[in-house]
């Protein structure tokens, strides 16, 4: 059920990429897609009523959620950050050159 929410989030992102013409909105869409996937990964490692995967003095390791997806998602978030930053930088540059944020007017390369 909760995976379905991920799917909705993913679809929202995709909708934004496909229908919005503004570069910045497309970037936001990409970020949403990224987060949907990250969320899904986190949920994969989640277990009901689990506790945080931190080793503390005197506690056994049972019933903690899977820590691996969290580590992995952290990395994925960093990558997403880098990509988003680059996308924004290039979007700004595109605005400088083309004078517009409209993706449909940015089509010099074709054929």
């Amino acid at each position: 059920m909760i995976y379905f929410l991920c799917f909705i989030l993913f679809s929202i992102g995709l909708y934004s990429i496909l229908t919005k013409r503004n570069l910045i909105k497309i970037i936001i869409g990409i970020s949403i897609v990224d987060y949907a996937i990250n969320l899904f990964f986190i949920l994969v490692g989640y277990r009901m009523n689990g506790r945080s995967p931190i080793l503390e003095k005197g506690e056994e390791i049972e019933r903690i959620v899977d820590p691996l997806p969290q580590a992995v998602v952290l990395t994925s978030i960093v990558i997403g950050l880098a990509v988003t930053a680059l996308l924004v930088a290039i979007a700004i540059r595109i605005y400088e050159k083309y004078g517009t944020f409209d993706i449909n007017e940015i089509k010099e390369l074709k054929g």
């Binding site: 945080s52 931190i54 003095k57 952290l74 960093v78 930053a85 924004v88 930088a89 700004i92 605005y95 400088e96």
Partner: protein, 149 residues
């Protein structure tokens, strides 16, 4: 130091609050960084928080003040140094036989100075992430349409 009456930046309230909290944010970042191997956090989180403290200054007082504190050249150097440091630590693992080997003494559990090279790696990551994030922000802020230096 940081001048409240500088014409640039936001209102006096924001500036004052910023001046008060900025040290705390920085300190919190350092805490997160240093306890990365025993509590949640680590180099990345600490780096982000510390970068945020500088970004905070920039938001409140304008870019000149912030760049006085940490200018681009230095952040670039920090960034590259961080990455190099990390790789150096990994290379030093060869002393223990394997790449990335944790060759230092592991120490006592849950102590600050334990876990061998993890702390050092965290510091390297902090340098990379903190400086990198700050640079990113600066690069996006300083960019002017139509005008390139």
């Amino acid at each position: 130091m940081i001048n409240n009456r500088d014409s640039q930046g936001m209102s006096v309230i924001v500036k004052t609050i910023t001046r008060l909290t900025i040290g705390l944010i920085l300190l919190y970042g350092v805490y997160i960084l240093l306890h990365g191997h025993i509590t949640p956090g680590g180099g990345f989180a600490g780096g982000v928080i510390i970068a945020l403290s500088f970004i905070h200054i920039m938001l409140a007082f304008g870019k000149n003040v912030a760049l006085e504190k940490l200018n681009q050249t230095w952040s670039k150097i920090f960034e590259s140094t961080g990455a190099l440091l990390f790789i150096t630590i990994a290379f030093l693992g060869f002393f223990g036989g394997v790449f990335f080997n944790n060759f230092l003494d592991k120490g006592e559990h849950f102590e600050l100075f334990s876990a061998g090279t993890i702390l050092l790696s965290n510091i390297a990551i902090f340098l990379k992430v903190g400086a990198g994030l700050f640079l990113l922000f600066v690069a996006l802020v300083l960019f002017k349409i139509g005008g390139r230096k």
